[in-house]
Amino acid sequence: MIVAERKPIKEIISMISGLRKILVLGCKGCVTVCSAGGEREVEILAAIIRMDRKKKGEPVEVVERTLVRQCDPEYLDLLSDTIGQFDAVLSMACGVGVNFLADRYPKTVVLPALNTKFYGVAEEQGVWSERCAGCGDCILDRTGGLCPVARCSKGLFNGPCGGSVNGKCEINPDIPCVWQLIYDRLKDLNQLDKLDEILPAKDWGVSPHGGPRKIVREDLKI
């Protein structure tokens, strides 16, 4: 899923400064699963905003709503009748949702309440970590299913740098060295010879570095 977390309250407060009528808009997709921008978080943020304005003696009307997703037009369309009455929509979706709202409603101020972090997993309750970088050209068949693009701090392709110590990354002892994990796994799978092959320079043209990406599936288009 896409993992996000709420921006610091002060940042959100300053972003909406002076606005009188705000739609706090949650999303029931990934950000609900990672407890950043679902129905519950919408309720919390709305209460926080009202508290702030009460404290300052500045009136505000906060409307709470949560869509099934903010990355599909059919759900964004549900806002078309009411969105005009708001000074801004404070989206609690990932950056995708914020963008899509802005695309769909050119006359509406759209603001992000979250920082979108990564494509990741829930390691356990309350702990998420990154697994994929969306580089556009998957090499996981070469690396035992573990991604050095997303999980090596230097994104190395041909084994661990000289800073891999006791299975940990040199930049932070809490981060496992993914190359140690890859090594251990390929050893267990009896595939260590895969590591002897030199992975060539990667084609970053299919990653975000190649410009915004798009997929068109003619077989699915109507």
Partner: protein, 139 residues
Amino acid sequence: MSSAFKPEVTAFCCRYAVYSFAEDMEALARAGFPDGVKVEQISCSGRVDVVRLLKALENGADGVYVVGCEEEKCHNMAGSQRAKKRVEYIKDVLSQLGMEPERVEMFFMPRGDEARFIEMAREMTGKVMALGPSPLRGR
């Protein structure tokens, strides 16, 4: 101002910890429980959620606290520990809003300890008294 200030405090209390005495508020008051503290019983302190605490503050409570079982002896395993984390969360929210984090607290008590329950209420009322009225009060 402080002489006229009567703190309004809401206490969210684990029913399991307080049921033996909290049904009779008049008796509690006679035993010294401060007026101005509104007791809301909940099935477990772990059930109190962030929104409920925030709304109490939003509606002008000068202080809010949660009473749960002793940390290691929670009737529902880790309920009171979860409640404590939520209280910490609210404290952080209050700080970020420029309000005193002490307006929200977590208390733990042995089941049925009425004297301790009264003591906690007085402690919280005293603390809120010192802080003065909530900036959200009456707005």
